[in-house]
């Protein structure tokens, strides 16, 4: 009996979320590590309050990219080649697997990205501009894009020996539109301009990643098997 695309995606997402709930790696390991990294950056500067405030946003996006990659790659590492073979034999649509895995990563990464704002505000004495709540969907879109990119890069490097080095190398440059859209949305907010155009950049980047993930899923799976 053939299981539909969305039903399959939900089953895969539920599996990944359940595993994260049990292992708690994103919350108990990666997030504290990211906070420590956020705290370490001021130590490398002269720590003048003005400089720290200027550094706050770039450091946040950089930390989000690096530790976001850790979270999404952790998710893709759940599946060994044996798991992938067994999943393929269930008749699971590889595109549904991509969708489910990306959705789970996004659901894990978005709250982590939101929580990371707090140490940045505290440690960098950052004063968020008015209308900062508008950054919530921006952060969610950036996190969702990173999650899809991670799922895509994880699949593309599946089974490779140099996977742990290769996947971030593949992902970091492709994350440029996401980081640019998110950081420029914040800059627009600071200078009291509309953020719509940058939100649009994020939406388009997300749609592009979703399309790339769905279209390439079958071919990447066949290579990985």
């Amino acid at each position: 009996m053939k299981v539909g695309f969305w039903r399959s995606a939900v089953i895969i997402a539920r599996r990944d979320l359940r595993v994260e709930m049990r292992s708690g790696e994103a919350v108990s390991v990666v997030f504290p590590f990211a906070v420590v990294a956020t705290w370490a950056a001021p130590l490398a500067t002269d720590a003048s309050p003005a400089l720290l405030r200027d550094l706050a946003a770039p450091v946040y996006w950089l930390i989000l990219l690096l530790f976001g990659m850790m979270i999404v790659f952790r998710q893709t590492a759940l599946e060994t080649s044996t798991h992938r073979r067994v999943l393929a034999l269930t008749g699971l649509d590889p595109a549904a697997r991509f969708a489910g895995r990306a959705a789970a990563s996004a659901l894990i990464l978005t709250p982590v990205a939101g929580a990371l704002v707090v140490p940045v505000i505290v440690l960098y004495d950052y004063r968020p501009p008015s209308g900062s709540w508008l950054m919530a969907p921006v952060i969610a879109l950036a996190a969702t894009g990173l999650a899809m990119l991670g799922a895509l890069a994880g699949d593309a490097t599946s089974g490779m020996r140099a996977r742990t080095a290769l996947a971030p190398l593949l992902m970091a440059p492709l994350a440029t539109p996401l980081l640019m859209g998110a950081s420029q949305a914040l800059e627009s907010l600071i200078s009291e301009r509309s953020i719509i155009s940058w939100v649009l950049v994020l939406v388009i980047a997300n749609l592009g990643l979703a399309a790339a993930g769905v279209i390439s899923a079958r071919a990447l799976e066949e290579i990985a098997l």
Binding site: K2, V3, R7, R18, V19, T80, R85, L87, L89, T90
Partner: protein, 223 residues
């Protein structure tokens, strides 16, 4: 080495698996060389050979995980190395060297997920666990189970649905004598309804106890 094929039907329209002069290379290294193999409906076939003989590659090729290099092969009517194999994957059950369980999920969750992905109710996964004697262990995480329990749960996966072709790779590894009876049950269950079983092991005697006939493979060639 070869036992009489008492259970094999004499007039079968098309074999479940037919490999003709099939060769497979992995990373440029020839692993299977000119293999011929036929598996009929209702038949179980064992392939015995030492480590590195190509047994696992043979199963992976039949499962359509690896495309053949030379020669030809048909599995459940689909030609190997073509897109036809995508349609038959859900009719194949495969158990590899390592149990395909997620360590952070319970045995019940692992089996329920497989059942749901194959379009069956989650309860069928739990019922399969019962059949291999692990009903009471359904709430134990796979990482906390013994290797034998994990192997049994992996075999239970093959009891979900009705795979037409079951591929077993060293299925008794890590199983005690009683648990190994499950393999015999699984093989009989599959062949009795017209399916086929291909089982590989380094132990020809052990295979002989389960399957209709045993063939040998050495250095990628079948005897």
């Amino acid at each position: 080495m070869t036992r009489p094929q008492a259970a094999r039907p004499s007039s079968t329209p098309a074999p479940l698996v037919e490999l003709v002069d099939l060769s497979v290379s992995l990373s440029g290294v020839p692993v299977l060389k000119g293999c011929h193999l036929t598996l009929h409906r209702g038949e179980s076939l064992g392939v015995a050979g030492p480590n590195g003989a190509g047994k696992s590659t043979l199963l992976a090729t039949v499962a359509a995980f690896i495309p053949p290099g030379e020669g030809s092969g048909e599995v459940l009517g689909a030609r190997l190395g073509t897109n036809q194999t995508l349609a038959i994957r859900s009719r194949i059950g495969w158990s590899g060297h390592i149990p395909a369980l997620y360590p952070d999920l319970t045995l019940g969750e692992n089996l329920a997920m497989t059942a749901q992905l194959t379009g069956h109710p989650a309860a069928e996964g739990l019922s399969a666990l019962d059949k291999v004697g692990l009903g009471a262990a359904k709430n134990i995480r796979a990482e906390r189970c013994s290797n034998g329990m994990r192997r049994r749960a992996d075999l239970a996966r093959l009891l979900i649905g009705r795979p037409h072709l079951v591929l077993l790779d060293e299925p008794d590894a890590g199983l005690d004598r009683d648990a190994a009876l499950i393999i015999g049950h699984l093989i009989r269950r599959t062949t009795s309804r017209g399916g086929g079983v291909l089982c590989v092991s380094h132990d020809a005697d052990r295979l002989g106890a389960w399957v209709d006939r045993v063939v040998e493979i050495r250095e990628g060639r079948m005897a």
